[in-house]
């Protein structure tokens, strides 16, 4: 389907997913303003959000399936499979988060229906990040997402940890946004445009290393992204924020927010700086340091939630390795791994939410002792999540890592591949103890785990994630094919020649 962007109908069609989600934002906003007095009202808000997300997802998939493309140069929003693929990722993450939150909020006594509204706004921002083909749109999406997530991190106002997390995140986030914006400004100064494709044609016209302004702009942009995806050493906020936020929000941040950062990073690098060597080297170092530091520090954690926070940093390193390859195989590997990562991370946080109370900050590995005998299904699902995070064969995590590795090897980055494998070995040191605790240790007391339950939406999240991880672990072809097609949008079909500034 070719969409003509010169008429209104075409424009509406091109923006349909965002418009649908935006419409549901309004619906939820009105509902929340009207009814917010009880948990039942909040539950309705959640269901409304779920409906909005599912409809947006349907729209995206419809556009993707009908192969919607723009007749002209899409100035602000791209119309390519990559946009649809990333939107699917974000919407999937958001849907899982809403499902997880339905019971969680009530259990934790958080009655703030705006929670769902913020989730929708955040997701909308992500869709602009993944789809924006202009730095300004990406920045707007980034800010929309970030502001929503700042608030979400501090949604439980009674918890001091929550407040601390939100404040830290906000302060450092604002700091990083400054870098990001400054980078955009410098790039605009060097190229005279903020459109990604046009920047690309400009950059290929001059040697970047000699153009200090563009180089500095790229550097600052990278730092802004590195903060959002929690790459070492711009990750320092992550453990504190993940730890203090309500667990479903943590899952959302670890999975969807991170994926959004990567989605935009990949598009910017591929479209605007495709032929440029310097960023490969910079990202190479970021990837290596992130993998090493994330995995090493995760090893030293006792608390499960903090361990998962560091694990998410380590995974940012793996995803950076995929980006570093700079090939469309790397992009496909990113998309597949991000899908697997979304499922396993949210799944793991769902189990954590089931196992703990009061923000789950106190749940340690020992608290899982004997879960295998008391809650066999839950323990089995947790085992799948842990093994998948570890990259164990038979799970989607393995296939994903395998494709990242093969992309890195194809890009002649053997050393990066070696680091990835070695740090994965280290990660066994913290992914396996929970499994061991669940199956090889006796419960600490007769009534242990009596309250560990997953009900309703959370049960669906756990079961669905675990099942999909195993399915994609054994029959990855359909998902891999989707990832491959999704990555094709990253190479611009037409090269536009424009006059220099």
């Amino acid at each position: 389907m070719v969409i003509d962007l010169n008429n209104t109908a075409g424009l509406l069609l091109a923006l349909a997913p965002e418009l649908v989600l935006g419409f549901w934002c309004l619906v939820v906003m009105i509902w929340v303003a009207w009814r917010h007095g009880s948990f039942e009202d909040q539950w309705v808000a959640g269901v409304l959000s779920l409906a909005g997300l599912v409809m947006a997802l349907g729209t995206v998939i419809w556009l993707w399936a009908s192969d919607a493309r723009a007749a002209q140069l899409a100035g602000m929003m791209a119309l390519d499979p990559y946009r649809y693929a990333t939107a699917v990722l974000f919407l999937l993450g958001a849907i899982l988060t809403v499902l997880l939150s339905l019971d969680y909020l009530k259990r934790e006594g958080v009655r703030i229906p705006e929670y769902y509204l913020l989730l929708l706004f955040g997701t909308l921002g992500m869709m602009f990040m993944g789809g924006g083909s202009d730095l300004i749109v990406i920045f707007l999406g980034l800010e929309l997402m970030s502001v929503a997530v700042y608030v979400l991190a501090g949604i439980d106002r009674r918890s001091p940890f929550c407040a601390e997390a939100a404040l830290k995140y906000f302060l450092l986030g604002a700091f990083a946004s400054g870098f990001f914006l400054y980078g955009i400004a410098l790039i605009y100064g060097a190229t005279g445009t903020t459109n990604l494709v046009l920047i690309g044609t400009q950059v290929s016209g001059f040697a970047l290393s000699s153009n200090l302004m563009a180089l500095l702009g790229l550097g600052l942009l990278l730092i802004g992204f590195a903060f959002k995806v929690a790459a070492v050493p711009f990750h320092m906020w992550t453990p504190d924020v993940y730890d203090g936020s309500p667990t479903p929000v943590t899952g959302y941040m670890a999975a969807a927010v991170k994926a959004a950062g990567f989605a935009a990073l990949l598009r910017v690098l591929f479209h605007s700086f495709g032929g440029v060597v310097v960023w490969h080297e910079a990202l190479w170092w970021l990837a290596v340091i992130t993998m090493v530091a994330g995995n090493l520090v995760a090893l030293a954690q006792r608390q499960l939630k903090r361990m998962l926070a560091y694990s998410s940093i380590a995974h940012a390193g793996y995803l950076l390795a995929a980006v570093t390859s700079g090939s469309s195989a790397g992009a496909a590997a990113f998309l597949f791994y991000a899908l697997a990562y979304t499922l396993m991370t949210i799944g793991a946080f769902a189990v954590l939410a089931a196992a703990g109370r009061g923000g789950e900050r106190g749940v340690s590995v020992d608290d899982l002792n004997g879960l295998g005998s008391r809650r066999p299904w839950l323990a089995a699902a947790m085992t799948v999540f842990m093994l998948s995070l570890l990259g164990f064969p038979g799970t989607a995590g393995f296939i994903g890592k395998w494709y990242i590795l093969s992309a890195a090897i194809d890009a002649n980055q053997q050393l990066l591949a070696v680091v990835l494998v070695l740090t994965s070995v280290i990660s066994a040191g913290y992914y396996l103890p929970p499994v061991m605790a669940m199956y090889m240790r006796a419960p600490s007391s007769p009534e242990a785990h009596s309250e560990t339950t997953v009900a309703g939406g959370a049960r669906l999240v756990v079961a669905l994630s675990a099942a999909l991880l195993v399915v994609f672990g054994f029959w990855p072809n359909a998902a891999l094919e989707a990832a491959r097609r999704g990555s094709t949008g990253l190479t611009p079909a037409v090269v536009y020649t424009v006059e220099g500034p």
Binding site: L216, M236, A300
Partner: protein, 661 residues
């Protein structure tokens, strides 16, 4: 290539049926172990059907008159670069002979097992293993390349292990299984090395290709071909229980007696002989290796025969007899008389299976008797037997037939096959005198064979009964389901000799003619066997004289009346004691190889290398180091935003520096 006969195409079914039987019986043993009728029907039915298929295949091959082997490729098993391995079966004159022996004798022993194992709680498991064994044995003899054969080779080893340790509640049985497995692994290393060498030098492992390329690629008597064949033969010494790897076979008698008959007498242990015959081109091109094969065979034949003289366990006597007879087979294939080796393999399959199953009947009868009186005596000790022909006439008569065939008394089958081996060795002596020595060893071995077999039969069936007063009335002949297969094996033991009569007799050399397409490959490298009719008659007369003299001497010298039951027996002295203790070979191996190896493994490899260096320094040391770094990293996590910003800015500077190049 000529049209492949339809019947030959059925050969896959011969292997698939026992596999199906294994799967079905395996499932039954797990879920419905009590369903004995179903187990019997499946277990015996599949093997009997496999035999029927084998007969069709043989008839098809004979009818087609094909000279080239028929290779049926089923699927590509390992395509890896230059190495392309197919799962393929090769049907030719040699594999058909093996096919008939394995399924035919196998089916009879399956029938026998219905009675022998009838009351065992592991009935279903037993038949599952037995079916699996037949499957792997067929893969071994049908495989069209070395690796497929090796799969069968390892598979039968596995089944042997499982069945030796079938009554694994007794630790001695489990140990015997382990011993067999480990000894075989030593030989298997040789097999593997041979395969690597063949692939490296010829680039293929398909039998037809290897045997086509070998004469043009290798130099006759060259180092490489000698190494390859010696490595192959090392594999044979493990699987076929030859010096120095024979000690597992007597211990393997810990398994049920039908297993001893099937695996450790008739089929599996002859795989080495089959391998040498199959690779006859390679061995014919390596005279040194062939001489080694013949020499080891002759030595084993004599050595094992002397040990058999003083064993008291009825199964041990037959086991050493098996080792000895396998030695004769290797003597045959070693001197280049591949047909004689295979011929002896076939006749031996009949008479040795017969001996074992008859011994099974005896053990079964004694066991039932002791069970009835609740006495715990050794049901396998010759000293507890005697005079049994009065209680079990059928078994006695049949075991005498098997025994006489084993001794090689004319006109029993063993006479012709053993004589053809010794005659071939004698003939080779004309060119290389060392073969006269091998012939002499084999001939002396034949004397001892006559002695120990006669001793076994006299002590078991004649003289006074020593089982015990109370037990005597419980001694009974075995049921027809057990004696029936014995009758058929008895017929084979008597008449199988006609397959390959000596040249001086009419209708001679049928098997030789049948196997000609296979053995002609190697024949070009071998000198012509030539014996004058006079010499041949002389050798036949000598063999007859030895058999008669041996039996007569044993009959006169042995005094079954003087024997006392095992419980009251005094230990032997002098040379008798050495023989009874099997020359102390097990003890020597233990002292020279096993103990030093255990010491080295425990002190050096385990405590020093593994526990101290690898576990202590490398693994735990690395883990500690890693944790230390992790701890430092988490110390940086102060919770102060100021620290975070400092790190952020530092990171920014470094990153920009990297990008600036």
């Amino acid at each position: 290539m000529t049209e492949i006969p339809e019947a030959v195409r059925l050969v896959w079914l011969a292997a698939a049926l026992p596999l199906l039987g294994f799967l079905a019986n395996g499932a039954l043993s797990l879920f419905r172990p009590a369903a004995r009728r179903a187990v019997t029907a499946i277990g015996v039915g599949t093997v009997a059907a496999a035999f029927a298929v084998s007969v069709l295949v043989a008839a098809g091959l004979a009818g087609s008159g094909a000279h080239e082997p028929v290779v049926l490729t089923y699927w590509s098993w390992i395509p890896a670069g230059d190495l392309v391995l197919n799962l393929a079966f090769q049907v030719d004159q040699l594999s058909v002979v093996m096919l008939l022996v394995v399924t035919g004798v196998g089916a009879l022993i399956h029938v026998f097992s219905i009675g022998y194992m009838g009351e065992d709680p592991g009935y279903a498991r037993y038949f599952a293993y037995l079916n699996l064994f037949i499957f792997f044995m067929l893969v071994l003899v049908l495989g069209s390349n070395f690796p497929v054969m090796f799969v069968g080779w390892e598979g039968v080893g596995l089944c042997s292990y499982l069945l030796i340790g079938f009554w694994f509640e007794d630790k001695a049985n489990a140990n015997a299984g382990k011993k067999a497995f480990i000894m075989n692994r030593i030989g298997d290393a040789g097999f593997l090395i041979a395969m690597f060498l063949i692939f490296r030098s010829l680039g293929t492992l398909e039998f037809t290709e290897v045997f086509r390329l070998a004469p043009v690629s290798f130099e006759v008597g060259g180092t490489l071909i000698t190494l390859i064949t010696l490595a192959l033969f090392l594999g044979c010494t493990g699987k076929s229980a030859q010096i120095p790897l024979y000690t597992w076979l007597p211990d393997a008698m810990a398994g049920p007696t039908p297993v001893s008959a099937l695996i450790h007498a008739a089929t599996m242990v002859t795989a080495g002989v089959y391998l040498v015959a199959r690779a006859n081109v390679l061995f014919a091109m390596a005279p040194i290796s062939s001489a080694v094969v013949a020499g080891i065979g002759a030595l084993t034949a004599l050595f094992a025969a002397t040990i058999a003289l003083k064993q008291w366990d009825i199964k041990k006597v037959i086991a050493y007899s098996t080792v000895s007879q396998l030695g004769y087979m290797f003597l045959g294939v070693g001197v280049g008389a591949y047909v004689s080796g295979i011929f002896h393999l076939v006749t031996h399959a009949f008479f040795k299976a017969l001996m074992f199953l008859a011994a099974g009947n005896v053990i079964y009868a004694l066991h039932q008797a002791y069970h009835a009186t609740h006495r715990h005596e050794d049901a396998q000790d010759l000293r507890n037997m005697g005079g049994l022909h009065r209680y079990m006439p059928w078994t006695a008569a049949l075991m005498w037939i098997g025994g006489l065939a084993n001794i090689g008394l004319p006109p029993f089958s063993g006479f012709f096959s053993k004589d053809s081996i010794l005659a071939a060795a004698f003939a080779r002596g004309h060119d290389a005198p060392i073969f006269y020595v091998f012939w002499a060893l084999g001939t002396v071995g034949a004397v001892f064979t006559a002695l120990y077999i006669t001793r076994l039969l006299i002590y078991t069936f004649h003289g006074p009964n020593r089982t015990g007063e109370a037990e005597r009335q419980h001694l009974r002949e075995a049921p027809p389901v057990m004696t029936g297969p014995l009758v058929i094996l008895g017929l084979g033991s008597v008449f199988a000799g006609v397959l390959n009569l000596p040249h001086v007799l009419p209708a001679a050399g049928w098997l030789e003619h049948w196997l000609e397409p296979v053995t002609s490959l190697g024949a070009v490298f071998l000198p012509e066997f030539h014996l004058t009719a006079g010499t041949e008659w002389g050798l036949l007369a000598l063999a007859t004289a030895i058999a008669v003299a041996g039996i007569a001497a044993a009959w006169r010298l042995l005094k079954p009346e003087a024997l006392v039951p095992a419980r009251q027996a005094v230990p032997e002295r002098g040379i008798e004691r050495v023989l009874a203790n099997k020359y102390y070979v097990d003890e020597i191996y233990d002292a020279l190889i096993v103990r030093p190896l255990i010491w080295f493994s425990e002190r050096v490899l385990w405590r020093t290398v593994d526990a101290l260096l690898i576990d202590g320094v490398a693994v735990n040391g690395m883990a500690r180091l890693t944790r230390l770094f992790g701890w430092i990293g988490s110390r940086l996590q102060t919770g102060q935003v100021g620290t975070y910003v400092v790190l952020f800015v530092l990171g920014t500077l470094v990153l920009l520096r990297v990008m600036a190049g």
